[in-house]
């Protein structure tokens, strides 16, 4: 069976039917359906040309992570699972040096280090691990998701209260103080009225 199929492969390789130049183009070809689109199926797209970069505000984290600057290791997961968990590297560890990461805006880094101080080692490397699923591919996706979540969380700028808010807060505070004084006075009068003196008799 194997030798027969090998023969088939040999003949196909010699004839190279599949590498004939594609000359047939119907009315349903992609060039006709999408006339304004680049028809190359293997075209390369840079992140800066995608809709994600256009949505991102200048100076903030856009969500793009350069994978070649991350150090990815595959480890063995813990927990139950018998031979499979003992033998297969399904746990994924991703680490990068926070200070040397040029893809994170500088103003986010102090907050990031503060939030994740438990995950940063002495060399300043942030270590993210995941063994959530049974598949290494999905665990790697989980690590990427975690990285993005912590960076976005660290990049939340606390909102300054507006002038109106400050004024209304001040008013409420004064009102509360006035009310407290009034209640105090009332209570005092009530207590005084209960007192009796020798002059009353």
């Amino acid at each position: 069976m194997i030798s027969r199929s090998c023969c088939i492969l040999k003949s196909v390789k010699n004839n190279s039917v599949t590498l004939l130049r594609q000359t047939y183009k119907s009315d349903c070809a992609l060039e006709k359906i999408y006339p304004n689109s680049n028809p190359d199926p293997l075209q390369h797209v840079e992140f800066k040309d995608t809709k994600f970069s256009k949505k991102a505000i200048e100076g903030s984290f856009s969500g793009y992570v350069p994978i070649d600057q991350l150090e990815i290791k595959y480890l063995k997961s813990s927990g139950a699972g018998g031979q499979h968990v003992n033998k297969v590297n399904t746990k994924v560890e991703v680490r990068f040096n926070v200070d040397r990461a040029d893809w994170i805006p500088e103003w986010i880094k102090p907050k990031l280090k503060e939030n994740e101080h438990g995950k940063i080692n002495k060399e300043g490397e942030l270590i993210i691990t995941s063994d959530k699923t049974r598949k290494q591919l999905l665990n790697q996706a989980d690590c990427m998701d975690k990285i993005r979540t912590i960076i976005f969380k660290a990049s939340i700028k606390p909102k300054e209260p507006t002038q109106e808010t400050l004024e209304s807060m001040k008013e409420r505070l004064e009102k509360a103080r006035r009310e407290a004084l009034r209640q105090k006075r009332d209570h005092s009068i009530r207590k005084q009225l209960r007192q009796t003196s020798l002059n009353d008799f």
Binding site: V45, V65, K135
Partner: protein, 295 residues
Amino acid sequence: MSYIAGITDKALKLIASMPRVALNNLKGLPGSKKTFQRRRGREKGSKHGRGDKGQGARMTLPRLGFEGGQFPFYLRFPKERYYEGHHMKRQYPPLSLLQLQRMIDLGRVNPDEPIDLTTLCNTKLYKCSPEHHHYGVNLTDEGIDIFQAKVNIEVQWTTENVIAAVERNGGVITSRFYDIQSVMALVNPEKFFQRGIPIPKCKLPPEDAIEYYTDPHFRGYLADPEKVAEARLELAQKYGYEVPDFSKDPLYEMLKQKKDPRQIFFGLAPGWVVNLKDRVILKPKAQEWKEYYHS
């Protein structure tokens, strides 16, 4: 003997002088077709075939299925809609990434050529039966972590994690629809060519499938190529791998190979007749046929 020969000559001469057999001079055997009886006239009139008195004669017969008040047969049994229409639904028998890797490792499938339904059926390890409403390959995620092959594969159904597994090795995956006649041709091309009919043009997907095959996230063959490239980058960012630069790839020409939406076989166009015996391909010359097969 000469007497019989004389009769034969006469008969043949008669036939030769007659017009050519056509639809307008054919007639069935007498009695082969029943004619509608109108029951009019002196003989057939009066009761007109309805018999004596009763509901039958008076046009007051109850509805079909009525059993005189007894709970009728057609209402006795409840409807069980669990499998309604199951015999008409499209099915995609699964092929796992593990099986595909095994086939490549054992030399059953050549990764240096584009892989499609025909390649997989030729191995005889994967079976797709169009008579059972099998419309092609469903690539599943079993063996996703060990998949290392770089392939240009064309499947009929797949999921996001499988696309990621194929693309991170530098491969190309496309979701492609074939109508049942095209599937029959693809599953056994030799048998199809022996029929001697022209290669049909592949039909577009039906309504319920068009959304999937125009979706760049599933690498649909009818999706916008620019959006597919964007989706490729998006997926790479999601799963944590770098999108390879295909222009520097030595297998660039092979990975670039894609069939036209109307094309079924690589290297062959719709309308061509492949003659395996004489080892020739016949192509239509008439303009109307060319226009039809290019539409």
